[in-house]
Structure formats: structure tokens, C-alpha cells
Assembly symmetry: D4
Homo-oligomer: 222 residues x 8
């Protein structure tokens, strides 16, 4: 297993990762120095024929584009990618508490789609008007995994998990103010859920939720 | 207004309080030294013909009883009182997320009843099985104020507030473990609710919620 | 109850909310994407003939104004609204500890006024000069509900609650520095008040306090 | 869906839950009052022919046993149950960092087994001697889901997730002292993992991890 | 200055301290091993003709008494001492919010008295009944320093400081529950006071407050 | 005492404060709205012939100057004032751990000087080179009060207090990074000092320390 | 490297560790189940001819003794061991702030001695009487590494590091009360030290400090 | 020892430090006022013939350069220095979890090099692809000290320490988002490591780690 990586000095690209974990290395662009980023994208692209980056800025997009003209950028999800066409199979449902959570939700959705899963979007169904969620029950029942994304008190995850048979991935978001402490309140809420079947990822970590949901969806389909 | 209190040295009993706030001084028994407690109960009883204490132990009950034989103790709510018969008017609904929250709920209920309010108990309607709460909608709609009591992620308060027209008092409880941090998770959850009409009292503060609910209920009835 | 909402894709407007809770949906403008905001305001306005938004910026005001020219913006409270003329009934008193809390106080006051309550403003009566508050006792006694707004140590809420018969809504503000931790000190202070009758909303949540105070005031008047 | 529960007054047993979520209500015994527990076990047992309780004490076991003689108690996992014989299918791997984490691991393992999953136990493979984990690679590769349980710095979850294709459920434990803050350090560590495919449950929540792992395993097998 | 201490091996008694700081070493008894405590008391007593210890238990008292029969113990303040008769000069006022704070107040009072100050006790004048404090204004105005001791929200310190010309030492206490976090709420409250002239010592640190108040009082008198 | 203030609507200037506490109201300029600030300065100046403001910006200075041309601004301490000539009496020593603490130290020093105290500045004597502090012992011994100002671990306060007979006011500063948490580490350090005679003010609160030191110094001189 | 461990089922004893890290596995006894402990001690003893355990109770000592009669227990350090005679080389100085820190200091000292280092004990030299530390300068200068152990504000580490050329290992202890938060204040203090050459281990982790100090000492001697 | 410093008024340069600790004063440039910085660099340079500054900005570089033209600036490490040529001896290995940690790593590396140590850089070997680290084992075994630098969950330090015989200095970094709380998660992780031989410095404190590693390396070589 040793040495199955490409050493760029500033980075050791883990080309063995696809073999080991089923998914090639994904680039976390936030705060990556400009000097390194295009080279990292190029190298992974050459190895895999496609490449996915998260939390990219418009400026990073333009810099990478100079070397890799087919790169695509989505400003809502901040995803930067070259993607091979592929069938999207199975079913992942992604719910948000509000409109302000959509940026995180799209990071999750587009990650899962990149990895080959079909995604159903169910946005703005927070618990202050619970009938909006209850009216989506049919869609929820078709999913192999549900992602529940909410800020403030993050109660959505508990209510969703009380309604479905499949795993719920909770994503607390930094939406809120004051004692939300930039997502900590929602994180604690989801971690302490009284409902069964919820596990949680980091605040605003749409990518992580999309990754796990795809793992579960692929297990269910295959 | 000055000097409208009785000075026992270790305590200055605020006999003006009933005049000022509508309610005579209530005794917070927790950690009150044995040497002082019976005298405090006696003095308030003499002034008002009744007396209410919270968070009392069995041992405190027995000590006070020696001086004030008509004192009554309820081990679930830990309330210690002499109560004059009175009509209970209006309507306060008290919901709990689970069975383990009942001790706090009874502190709230019996406080509100002591102060003259009618209380409707709706226990164990947590969001993991949301239909249990939804089936109580008629009861909720009759209330002038709802108290929502829950530990763990405390999501109950948000869901209730999305269903009613009246103020909801959230009471986070210390029920839970791990990252519930003895009620902090539920407290943050309720303070950050996405629903309108929720205000919050301290963790396990059933007394405080019962007091405020009675204030609101009396305003509504009169 | 199901489906009583308008689905805009990015948002599911809860038009049933007025029926259920007595108040139509209010728009929390903070961080709402520019692409969505005007449409949300228009839709609620059409449904109700008026619309209320909070935490709006000047830029958001100008964007909404293009579609809804009668919209009005107040830079102190950051409230964005179209309001139908209505009688303001009952009495809510709003106290602040200092001058820097006025922005939060105006959010509370204008929310309560929009919902139909009469508001008495009592600003800059913090406990460092307690005689300023004590001299307002007559005004306090006329209120059906008092909102106490303070940053730093937030002691105002406790002192007010010791003086009145009606519920006090405490609003901690982020005014302060150092170990105020952007309002956490005031929040903890109010949640732990030794006085009866205080419940608390989120840091800087003037809107929430105004909403609840109006609920209580309407119950008292009707 | 309404009213599909049994109302015991102190509890509303959610008999609809098995229909909705695939699993009947599980009893969280911790701090449940003695007066209520046996009745709750009996009622669920009658409905389902089996019953599972977690975090039970020896004393609770003896009390329930009086009414339900076939009840069984395991002192390591603190699980209290009546279980119908069933085939255990699929494959879940459960790793612990140390020997002190075994109590939580057994709660997870026995929950998953009760729900019908086959479990592979891989205990005491913490990262201070990483070769112990690496030598288990074959076992890890057979699993449909891995549960990684660790206290102190909780690094095990990240290392495991870097080695497998399937979802990893991280369970931080309260094992440790000082700045472990009773499991908070491990929780933060797992939530911030640099590896893909980790989602996290509450500190010491073996039950929750076993529940989710079974959900994933069943999806994979079926 | 070097070596002006007595080396007992397990302790280096700072006999130079009286020269340097005006006060001989005081023994913090909490958790001091039984094997060491009597020897430490004896040594300081021999050096100074008197000795003061804080946070002592009944058991420690009895152990020290065997070696030093004239030792005296007060169970309320937990002070253990041999004291030479001395005049008590000047004036320190000590206020508490409630009856439960008296243990801390007595530690402060008896420390200041041991060090030669006159102390005025003003107990149970918390802000929920502010007239009790206002009626003590004459006593407050005679003091060279005021100690304000309160748990829960600790608002007493701010109100006192708004009334007097002299320094106020705030002592937060661990009296309270839930989100008081064993005195943290009161500590933050006092540190963030909007009033001038407040400085703060550790939670329940009556000794420290008594020490500083005596320093100030002695400066004022001399 | 009632009504001894000037009501500007947005502010109630506490002109009674000088009578009550010995010092006229001081203006905390931070975040004060531009519309209010000049009027507040003018009003206090007219009442007292001088006025002191803290945490002022250059922009606020220029705005106030238009109305009050004799106003003076110091960019290091951020103090904005009109000061009457007065004798500076007694002796206050102000120590800092480092050069970066000087801004806070000057706020303390200039406040105490404004209030009539003589100040000795002893800057950059942090404990990493303890001989720098020890060489200042003569200056320390002349003071009636010492202010110890330090960020990072804030150890300076403890060492100073071990050397002097007079009260030490500890001022934690936000100097530092990482786990200093913007002054929290220094605050906790000073609050938990093993030395006697330290009380603490808020992070970066040079003003508060100068105020109290002046109180003590005036008591000592008079 | 694989499989170089002994699998006891509940534990995988890392017998390769001595080869890899120079030191055989040490047993952290705290909360280790009684059923497992004696077997673990026996197995390591057989492999290495000696064995070291930390945080052992008297009860654990007696249980292990039944199987391993030559085991020795020290109640102060709570160390449980069988030790081969060996030369103690080099020089490690261990300082404590107070007498209450000696338990942690002895854990460090006896660990380092077990591993072959000479230890110089310098106890009770806290910064409140700095001359006690300064008078030990000669001893400090002979050490290859210094361990500084202190609770409360933990300032000792900074002062020591300002005096020596060699690495200082800071050990915060849980000695203190109130806002020491069981050692957190001392931990933050040491992590933020303004002095060079300090690195920190967990609260009360005498063992860890002794281990590292021995590593450094051995490097220096060899 | 007294007075062995140069008094610039705003700073007391500790020229005795090289004598005492082996290393001349190093300048922490962050937030140092422009007016003071060049003079401090000049003074230390004159005393020692070289000078090292950390956390310098481009702007500070240009300002110092006017007075000290031979000054050199590295934008990655933010180190500002004049360095005398010297032999670099021994061996320090510096590992990072990712590419984003390189800025902190270079601060550590260049500090150690300035102080005379040879440094081996091993970057981007985080635990998500553990084979990258394992393949560097030979390099690790040559080091007298290893610095492990990582953000997010900081697991790298534990894994490294399980592989080597020498001390590991853990440097948590602020790389991450959400519940990493700007490095706190990594700090807690490293402080609670289950592996032996790790001590920790402040978040992002590359300088401190380089300083200590050099101390250890010099002890090992000499």
C-alpha cells in the first residue's frame, strides 16, 4: 500500500484513495494557497478524468480555469468540478428548514449527484409550519437516506427521523444569530435528538452529508 | 415603600411583595439552612394565610412540619405548601416531551394551581412521534398559555409554537446525557427557535414557568 | 391542514400561519439571497394586504422597493414593511438599559405596533442610576406586559420584574465588550434572575419580544 | 395516523412507531421513575412480543422481572430485554479505541443484534498502536457499516474512515479525564474529521450507533 | 529576600510574607492532606502568635485541635483560627442577595475582622425587592468599601455600585441551578457591570473579598 | 432623589451621579449613534465644566469637536475629554506585561489622572523576564494601589500581588491569539490567582481599573 | 509490524510498543473493569519483567496483588508497579505551585524514575512568594528538563521558563475552585504563556509529563 | 541580575535573556504599534548581530527595512529576520496533516533553523490516508524531536507519537470550520491523546514548537 501517492512537495495526493474508499480525493478549496490549487486540480483530473472541489471562490474558479478550461463553478453551492456524465441511481431526499440553508443543501445535493446518486430536493419545510413537512411524506418514504439541514434550533432532524425508516444525516447550519453561536445550538440539538436514526456531521458540512448519503444509497441499490 | 419587610437577621422577608407584584414571597428551599427554614415558612404563613415552597426535600418537610403541622409535601414536584382553597380559573396547557420531564411539569402545574389557574396536563408528546402532539390540538387551542417542557434537543417548544395563537413558555430540562450538558442543549434550542411566540426560563425551572403562565392566564381571564 | 402553503421552490410560504397562529408569516431578511427576497415580500403582501420584514439592509430595501413601491424602511430598527392603518390597543412598556440598546428596542416596539398594540417607550433607565427607573413606576404599572432590554450584565430585567405584576420579557443585547461574549453574559443573567415573572428570548431578538408582548397584550385587552 | 398510541397518563406509548420507522419503541430506562417502568415494558412486550431497554440498572431489572419474568439483563451493556430468536444478517464491524470503551460498544452491538444484524467485534485497536487496527483490514472490508468508538482524542474514527468504503458511525465516549470534558474532546474530534464518510452520535450513545448501523446494514442486505 | 521561608519538604512556609504584604500566610485547607495540615498551622502560629485557615472541615478542625488546642472553628464560614484580640477599625459593609449566600459572606466578614476591620452585615437585600437595599443607604454611606455577594444573576453588585462613592468588591456565588453554571452566570454579570467601581473575585471567594476590603479600609483609616 | 436626571428621550443623563458616587457620568462612546453623541457631551460638559469619554474613534472626535471645540483626543488611549486643571495627588502604579498592552494602560492612567490621581507608569515588565519587575520594587512600594495589565496568560497580576501591601486591580487584555480566546485565558488566570489582594475587571477595561484605583487612592490620601 | 500484539479479546496488548517507542505499554487503571485488570498486569509483567500502572485505587491494588504478589502501591501517586532495579541518570527538576499539587508531582516523578531518570523535587514554590522559586535557581540550572505543576492560575510555568535554558513541561492541575473549572484556567494559562519553551500536557497528567521529561533527559544524557 | 535590560519607555528589552535562557529576545510583531517596531528590531540587532521576528506583515517589513536594510521577510511563515550564517545540526522532523498547515509549519521550521537546528519537512501526511505517513517512517526515526501540525481533528499527533521514541510537539492549527472553533477541537484532541510523549503548544504557535524542538535537539546533539 505504501507510496501510492503523488508527492508535489506541498501536497501528497492520495491516488490510492479511490481503491481504498471508493471515491477519489476531493479538494477542500477553502484557504488553499493560490500557488497550489490549479496543480492539485490538474493532477487529480489526470488521474481520474474528473475532479470535485468544495468551498471554492469565484477567484479560485478563474485561476483553475486558466489551466483546466472545462472546469465548472456553481456560485450557490460553491462547487468547482469537472464531471463525467453518469447515471444517477437510487434516491436521497434533502430537506432544509429554511431558504437560507439552500447553499449548504446544494453542496450536499451536488456532491451526491457527482458520486452517482439521484437526489430529491425538499426545501423550506421547517417545524414552525410542520404541515409543510408532513405533506411531503410520500417523497420521504421513497428515499434510501434523508439529509436534514437546519440552523437556529435544528429541530427538523428530530421530526424527520420520527417519520422514516431510513438513516437521517443531520447537518446543522450557521444560519441564525445570538445564542445560535454560529451553528453550535443546532449541532447540540441534532446530537441530542430524542428520535432514533440520526447521525450528525459538522456545521455547514453539506459535502460530508452528501458523501455519506451516497455511500448508504449505493449500498441500498446494489 | 421603604422598610416594608420583616428583618429576621439572616433574611429580610419582603411582605410588600404581594402588594407590588401580586404574589407573596415564595420560598426556594434548595440549600436553605435547616436553622432558618421553619421560621421563614411560619412568618410568610402568618402574613398570608398560605405559603408555597419549591425544591424541598423530605427532610425539610419533616422539619417544617414540626412547627407548621398543616404543611403538605408532594414528592414528585418537591413542592411544600399550605394552600387556601380557591377557584382555579382560565386554562394553561402543560406539555412534556417525555415521562422523565414530569417532575418539572408538576412543579409548574402545582405552582400555577396554587396561584389560581386551571391546568391541563398533556404529557409525553415528544417530536419523535409527532402524531401524539397533533392529536391534542383541541386541548392546545383552549389554553391562554402553553408551557412546553423538554430535555435532550428540546424541539417540542418549536413545534407547539407553530400550532397555537398564545404565548409558549419553554422549559428546558436536564433530562439527557453526554452533549446535552445537563440541559444546555435544550436551552439553546429553545432560545433559537425558528417559531414565533416562545420565551424561555432556566433549565428545570418549572416554578418560573408556572408563575408566568399564571400571570398571562389571569390577564386573559380578567 | 396539508398543503396550505405556496411553493416557490426555494421557499414554501406558510399562508396557513395566520389561521393557525393569528399572525401571517414575517420575513427574516438577514442573509436571504437577493434573488428570492422581492418575490417573498410580494407573495405575502398579496395574501395579506400588508407584510413585515426584520433585519433588512438598505440594499434589500431598495431591491424590494422596485417591485413593491409602497414598502417602507426604518434604518434604526431595520424593519421593512407595508402596514395597513390599525388601532393600537392595550399597553406594552419597553425599557432599555442604555442608549445603545435602542436599535433592538425599536425592532420590538415597531413589531408590536404592527401587530396592533400600543407601546410606551422608556429608554436609558439602566441600574447604574436606579432612580431613573424608579421614577417611571407609574408608566410601568399601566402596562399589560413589560419588555426589558439590556446588554452588559442585563440586570435591568430583574429589577423591573421586582416592581410589576405583569410578565416581563427579557431581551439580552450584544452591547458590551470583553467577557460579555456578545450578549451571552446578559442572556445568562436574565435566565438566572432571582425575580419572578421573567422569560427570555434570544440575544438582540427585539422582534420575538415584540411578538410575545403583543400576544399577552391582546389576551389582556380581549 | 392520529391517536395510534396507548395513553398511560404518564406516557403515551407510540405503538404506531414500528409501522412508521420499522422499529418498535425502545425504552430509555435512565431516571425513569420506578412506578412507571414495569408497566411500560409490559405494554410494549404485549404489543410486539419482544422489548428492548437501554441504560437499565440492576435494581430496575429486578423490578421489571417481577412483572415480566422472562426479562434478561446484561450488566456490561446495561441492556434489559425480551428477545425473540431471529437470524442475524449482513455485517457490522464495531471497533473500540480501548478496553474502557467496551461498555458502550456492547450497547451498540447488542442493539444491532436485537434488530437483526450480524456484528463483528474488534476491540482495543486505538491509534497509539496503529498496527493493531491495520491488521484487522480484512474484517473491516467485509462490513456494510463500521462503528468507531473512542474516548480521549477519538482519533480512531478518522483512521478507520480512511481505510473503508462504507459509512463510519463515530461514537465519542466519556473515557478520559481533565480536558476531555467527559467526552466533548472526542465529540469535537470526530465531528471535525478530515476523513470522509464519518457521521457522529452523542457521547456514549452506543444504542444510537447500533440503531443506525442496523438501518444501513438492512438497506445493504435487502 | 531569598530563603526567608521555612522548608517543611512538602511545603515552603512564606514567613517573609507578613513583611512583604502586611499579612502572614493564610492556610487554604481545602484538600490539604491530613498528614500536613496540623504542622502547617503549628508553624504559622509559632511565627505569628495567631493563624487563619479557610475552607476547613469539621474533621480537619478536630485533627488540628489535637496539636493546637486553642484553635476555633466556625461551621458557617468554615474558618479555623487562633486569633489575638485586636481593635476593629474603619468600616466595611457586606451585602448579600439572599440567605443562601451567608456562608460566603461570613468567610469575608470574619477574614476582614481577623485582619482588624470593623464589619457591617447587610444580608438578604437582593434586587427582587430593591426597597430592602435602598432602606440601608445610610449604612452603605458609612463604609470605606462594600462587598456585594450574590449568586444567580448577581445583579446586586451593579445596583450597589450605583449608590456609593467607595469601591465595591463583587463576589459571585455558586447559589443557583441550571444555567447558573455553578456561579459562572453571576461572575460574568459582575465582570460586565454597567456601573462604575466594581472589581470581582472568584466564585465563592469570600476570603479574597475580605482580604481586599481590609486593605482598602486600612488605607482609608490610616 | 427621583427625577434628578436630564431626559433627552434617547438618553436620561444621570446628573445626580456626581452627588451619589463622587464622579459625574462618563461617556462610553463605543457604538453610540452619531446623532446622539455630541448632545450627550455638551450636556455633561455644561453640567460639570468638564467631560470624559472612552473608546472614542477619530471620527467621533471630529463630530463632537464641531459642537465643543475645546475637546481633546488621544489616539492611544482613545480618550475624548475636556478637562479642568487639577492637582494629581497620591500614587497609583500601572504595570503592563508587554508593549501591546499600553493602549489599555493609557486608558487606565488617563482616567485616574482625570479623576485627580498621580500615576506612575511601569510598562513591559512581564514575567518572562521577571527581573524587570523585581527591579521596580521601590516604585511599587510607593503606590496606594497597583493596576496589573496583561494579556496571554496574565501571570503578571499574581507576581505583583505577592510583592505589595496594597490592592492590585487585574486587567486582562485581549492581547494574544489562539486559545487566549480574546482575553478569556487572562481573565480566568487573574480570577484564580493564588496570591492575595487581586480583584479583576473586564477584558481591556482600563477605564474601570483607573476608576477604582482612583477611589482607593483618594481614600488613602484623605 | 502487523500482529505484534497479544489478543486477550477485551484487550490487544501492544508488545511491539517497547520496540517502536522505547517504552513498554503502561496501564491506565482508572475505570478499567476488575475482570480485566489482573490479567493485563500479568501479561505485561511476563513480557517485560516489570510493569507500571497509573491512577490505581487501593481496591485495584489488592485485586492485582492476588495474582502478582510482588506488586507495589503508592497511595500518594496512585502508582501500581513491579520495578526492576536500575540506575537513574541525568536530571529532571519537578516544581509545584503548592502542597496540594504533590499527588500529581509524585505521579510524574515516579514515572520518570521508573523509566530511568534522576528526579529533583522542588515543591511549594508558587508565584505568590516568588523568592522561594528564585532561591532554587541552582537546582533548576542542573536539570535537562523542568516539569512545572500548578493549579489555580498556573503562573508558575511562565516564571520558570523565563529562568532556564531547557524545555519546561507544564502540567495544569485541578487544584482550585469556582472559575478554575477543574483545571481549565491553569491549562489555558500555560498554553498561552508569554515565556518561551513551554509545552503542556492534560490536566493532572503527571504521568505524561514524567514520560516526556524522561525522553528529553535520555536524549540529553546519551 | 537586576536592571539587565534596556529601557525604551514603551518597552524594556530583556538583553539578559540570552544569558539566562540561551536565546535572545524574539519579537512578536502582531499588533505591535508602528511607532515602536523598528526601534525594537534595531536594538536587538545591535545587541546580538541578528534578530528574529514572527507574525510580521508586509507593511511592517517595509517599515523596519527603512532602518535595517538587511532585514529579510518570508511571506509564507511571516518571519522577519536578520540571520547570521550558522551550521544547522541534529535533526527535527516537522509533519503536517494538510497543505493548509504549511504556513504554521514554516514558522516552526524557520525558527528552529534560525536557532541552529537541521529540519526535515514532511508535509501533507494526514490520517485520512495513513499510508502517506507510514511511508515516512525512516525519516521519523532519524529525528531527535518531531513536530506534528494539524487542524480539524488533529489526529496526526497521536498516530505519530505511537510510532517514535522521541518527544512529539503537537501544534493544533486553526484550519477547519464549524465546530473546529478555530483550532479548539484540534487543541483538545492533542491534549487528550491516548499516545505517550505528546505535549502541546498554542493554536497556530509554530514559533513555540520550533523553539522547544530546538531545545530538545540541542540537548540531544550536545
Amino acid at each position: 500500500m505504501k507510496n501510492a501517492y503523488e508527492d508535489l512537495g506541498f501536497a501528497k495526493l492520495d491516488h490510492d484513495r479511490k481503491q481504498r474508499t471508493g471515491v477519489a480525493e476531493v479538494v477542500f478549496c477553502q484557504n488553499k494557497p493560490n500557488a497550489y490549487l490549479p496543480q492539485i486540480f490538474m493532477s487529480i483530473y489526470k488521474q481520474n478524468g474528473e475532479v470535485l472541489g468544495t468551498r471554492a471562490t469565484q477567484e479560485q474558479y478563474e485561476m483553475v480555469k486558466e489551466k483546466l478550461p472545462q472546469i465548472q463553478y456553481d456560485a450557490v453551492s460553491r462547487i468547482l468540478k469537472v464531471e463525467q456524465p453518469k447515471e444517477r441511481i437510487g434516491n436521497i431526499a434533502i430537506c432544509t428548514g429554511g431558504t437560507a440553508d439552500i447553499s449548504v443543501a446544494e453542496e450536499a445535493a451536488q456532491t451526491a449527484e457527482f458520486l452517482g446518486s439521484y437526489v430529491e430536493r425538499i426545501y423550506d419545510v421547517g417545524v414552525a409550519g410542520i404541515h409543510r413537512l408532513l405533506s411531503q411524506k410520500e417523497k420521504l418514504e421513497k428515499a434510501n437516506c434523508v439529509i436534514a439541514i437546519a440552523g437556529m434550533e435544528g429541530a427538523l432532524a428530530s421530526v424527520v427521523a420520527g417519520l422514516v425508516k431510513v438513516p437521517v444525516i443531520g447537518v446543522p447550519t450557521s444560519v441564525g444569530y445570538g445564542a445560535s453561536f454560529e451553528g453550535l445550538a443546532a449541532l447540540l440539538s441534532m446530537i441530542n435528538s430524542c428520535a432514533n436514526g440520526i447521525s450528525v456531521v459538522n456545521i455547514d458540512n453539506g459535502y460530508g452529508a452528501g458523501y455519506i448519503a451516497n455511500q448508504i444509497n449505493q449500498l441500498a441499490v446494489k
